[in-house]
Symmetry: D2
Subunit: 368 residues, 4 copies
């Protein structure tokens, strides 16, 4: 059963293993006429590269993307866009040991149960490198959305106990800090916290927040294809994400209707909401306000402490994972969250185009 395909209109199929020859994605359903060159995509891929800082792995990942099809003279043609990133620095010799046992917190055991065996090199398909296809496609989706006036902004909201200060929000810091926090002060504290985690051979989790501006009201389909339901699926499909919330999210369970309802208000003919507890979506359909959601990311499961587990022969053993691993997944996952949100929204924008018969009539009457 296929599981690597996402979207209905703007459909992507990602492929590739951590230590295979390459990773990539096929985008089937990109509209024609969009300016697209490799730099557009490389910019996003660079954001998921490990940095040079203390909190990220010293592995060198030069993930250079190549467009193999779907563009002509710098424009998309409407046909499938095939994007490829060759694996260059992966070495299989580091991973011979983990072939024999099941790492706690990883998908080794479940892959074996499902498929009978697994490509154990670097986690194979369950590696974080799987997200290369998502991010490459997400860059294209974000470019479409930008044409429609929609901007996405994801960032690290917290790492372990260190949370950003909303009043100190500095958008420019997101791509400057090694934590992707929009707050230099919090970044510094988080880096210190991560250093202490590393000193204890441990790892940390965190929260990623994403804000989407410019989405017109009316996007999302009622019942099962609600915009927030599809965002939830998109974000929860990212490895290590264990919770998703929109707007006030978890807090609504302890709220009252009187405090949770957002009043509508009309100003000079424009309807908006006084507050945004709903996070920009009502009944699964965008309400014209900012969409805001959060992803809760678990700590890196690969830690250097001794751990108990079972090997393939069913024996209880104690292991010490080797190799190079980030003490926190969050900063590199920020662009993945943004990409998945872009993919979801691009699809929803296309789906909405035939919501009214007057739209179809207008389209076929006036399009040329």
């Amino acid at each position: 059963m296929s599981g690597s395909t996402f979207g209905t209109f703007f459909k992507i199929s990602t492929w590739g293993e951590s230590h295979g020859k390459a990773l990539g994605v096929v985008i089937d359903g990109c509209p024609a006429g969009l300016p697209l060159i490799e730099d557009d995509i490389q910019e996003y891929l660079n954001r998921r590269k490990p940095g040079q800082t203390k909190i990220s792995t010293p592995r060198r990942e030069d993930d250079l993307v190549e467009i193999l099809s779907g563009t002509f003279e710098g424009l998309t043609t409407g046909t499938p866009i095939s994007l490829i990133v060759r694996n260059t620095s992966q070495k299989s010799r580091d991973y011979s040991e983990i072939a024999s046992y099941y790492r706690p917190g990883h998908a080794d055991y479940t892959f074996d149960q499902k498929y009978g065996f697994r490509d154990y090199r670097g986690g194979g398909r369950s590696s974080g490198r799987e997200t290369i296809g998502r991010v490459a496609a997400g860059a294209v989706a974000a470019k479409i959305l930008k044409e429609l006036g929609i901007e996405l902004l994801a960032y690290t909201k917290s790492i372990g106990p260190v949370e950003i200060n909303e009043s100190a929000f500095d958008k420019g810091a997101i791509r400057q800090t090694s934590t992707c926090m929009p707050d230099y002060n919090a970044d510094q504290k988080a880096v210190e916290y991560l250093a202490s985690c590393m000193a204890e051979k441990d790892s940390a989790g965190g929260i990623i927040e994403c804000r989407i501006q410019g989405v017109p009201a009316g996007i999302g389909e009622p019942v099962f294809e609600k915009l927030d339901a599809n965002l939830a699926k998109a974000i929860m499909s990212i490895g290590a994400v264990k919770a998703f919330e929109i707007g006030d999210g978890c807090r609504v369970s302890a709220a009252h209707g009187s405090s949770n309802n957002d009043s509508f208000v009309s100003e000079k003919g424009t309807i908006s909401k006084k507050t945004n507890h709903a996070g920009g979506i009502l009944g699964g359909i965008s309400d014209g306000g900012e969409i805001i959601f959060r992803a809760y990311v678990k700590p890196t499961p690969s830690i250097f402490q001794e751990q108990e587990t079972v090997n393939k022969d069913g024996e209880n053993i104690r292991i010490c994972i080797k190799g190079r691993h980030d003490p926190v997944i969050v900063p590199r996952a920020v662009v993945v969250v943004e990409s998945m949100a872009a993919l979801t929204l691009a699809d929803a924008m296309m789906a909405n185009m035939c919501s009214r018969i007057s739209y179809l009539k207008g389209f076929y009457t006036h399009r040329n």
Copy 2:
């Protein structure tokens, strides 16, 4: 764009408005040979009926289901199962006023923005009555899962600030208490809390928890069709759910790898986990442990306090919603959560059948 269809193998299409002639669902993809009569489905529908207690609406909803197709001599035939529930007690006269304005916290505004107008009677398609189709189909999915040794159990974990006491967990209380709490003591406190909310013309939210036992390891597809991603979509597609978490969920963001990882352990040839922080799913694939997730439900948006909003002419107005409304959505949503989980899992169990070539060969060699 279709939004009322859910599932790939076990596919359902729900239909119907709050005050239309009827509501229902078509199940396309139910295996043949399953014993199925109306009582199997009615039992689930009865669980979403308003009770006779103080915390639920006095509306009388005799939602009697009729099987129109897909069974023969008490067994499913493999062809579509059409289920219908006639609307009997709905009266349109109560709803004439809300046609003119947008209720805060409801989908009135977003439906108008999307479709140009709406069936305003009782919320139309965005009413809680929309879940009748989900629950009717969920009953069939749960019956399939039971044949496969899988049992689902959803219940109210909290209402407002009142949470169940895990050590007092009493499964039998779930269907006995008006709150669907597995804890008579917490139920009593929650009922008192809701009475105070009603006295203040206000409403409350809460948390629904769902446990699934008997799921074999290996269910769920990597990357986008992860079992937890699909559960997230299914649950977030329920109106009023604003957050979804699996296992430790939100708490992972503040955890360490050393505390969050579940160690594998082997006992007499059986591999299991010592703990279950993951909630039974690793890398999107079931690990053989109990699956546990939670839905965070917002307070009923229909409250009797005066609220600010905008009418269809764009004028700022103050409204007082009339009618009969539950002060809390949670208890009636419990069976909806259970149903959506059942639908998701039934689909995933079918999807998994062709994960290995040896499964296909075995199937076609030995099936008869």
Copy 3:
């Protein structure tokens, strides 16, 4: 696995057995704002009713449709449209015998092989009555297409050896003749031919042709979702259709490129083709010309001659089918062909709306 669902944007799920309680369809994805009342649908259903003539069964089928959801004050709301036709005149007692054996040319044997048993009353789900859902949904699709300036016209091209005379084509005759032929003279000959078939306890096949006018150039998606490929699937999914051809169809195999190519010609700024061997589709995409295709329909398998077959105990037996059966399927299938073409085209028209980025930008800039 679901098989009764058709379409991506304009998605339908049909349900119902020949002798069950009812048959129907759920349309998920109809744009809002389309005027729709039961008469619009009943007109199509009446066209598939058996007539009062010598060539059709004397069974009385009052297939009255009821709209259960999806419209409000005479307009579609964008939510699922549930259509139901109650079975009234079906009697199960006529079908007790066929439960025991496999009728040649029918799906009795293959249903048993697939599902282990079958609803044998009147053919169950494999009955021609299954098409009620298709036609009811097709009526809605045709109404959408009419709004977009597209008209479909299906008719009987031949019955057995009797073919219509193209030069005598009389559109008005299609709904006047019992054969649905656009040629009164051919109709008379066909009726005589069918009388001779009936005298010999035999049945006849025929050809249905469908012409679609007003389709703009550019509809259909390259590679697998070619417009003609989807038409082929739609038409071949109708029971008894054994071949599908577009434009010159089968004849192309003996043609030369020089005679088969359609030259383009420009007149006053409008590009068209001098001929239409292609049938209005090039590379799977409409070329702005008339779309023309044909379905080849097999003779009614239920004949009154003695036939050899096998019973459920695996014994070779001789049978004589009883009951009331049309000597030809073609006339009643004409509206089914038209309906399936309408469903296919409505879906393709919607799919095309996001083929260019300029379309998306124009839509979201100017739609209001």
Copy 4:
């Protein structure tokens, strides 16, 4: 809207243009554990290569496939299989002229109408080279089917007026003759016929027949996902195919029920049919007999005669197409037909696995 994705369980996404950097396919849904190396796929790709004979283009196409993902130590892993074929011998300079006009019988005009412009180099995505992805994926599907005891055999049945002699059927000839005919005598006549076409600067069409053996009864889903309907779509999606028929196909329109019905017969407990007018499918479900269908292929539209057409400025012009073009498409399309049939059937075999609840129970009880 995506159009380059095919299949539900065994899902493929093809990509690539005639003169782009590469062409390929991603297979999402291949079961794990299938032995697969590049040679398995190369064998199929070689069959669509132009030969060295008089009837095929002298272009040199070394279409060497590379497996980029989805296998490990010679076995499929259950994750997406990415296959790539680099374009090596394509030269863009030959195609500068056709950028300016619309070739009759090609998709130049319709692509421009749909997308606003096109990659005109060698036909871009509408080139016959698009089928590389289909054939590469088809090789994998055929390998799965072989494991299940299913064999496909496609061949040229006719070219222009030259048809094979059924009584001289020689399976071995198919891969020996330049026409892919299973009849050396007919091959020789066809080659002569094609020589005469070329002498007249013209081209020819033909018929491809495909036989599938070993399909168990019960494959295919009723109503819209009938096995023959899906085969029709698959085959009609191949460029240049204008008609599809199964079993007796077009001939059924002139047949009688008494001659068209296939009698069932039981021999030593095995049920089969005395004849096979149905082509192995009844009611859309395989009946256990040989599946046989035919594709009618149009003459190569690129001919060297002068033709009338229109240029992009809307002027009527006369053109002479240059370059290297096969006088007939049929022989190279044989393996494409076989591949599309394999893809369709592999999907249908997987879909059937959950047709009975007893299958699911048996699977989850006994699979290990």
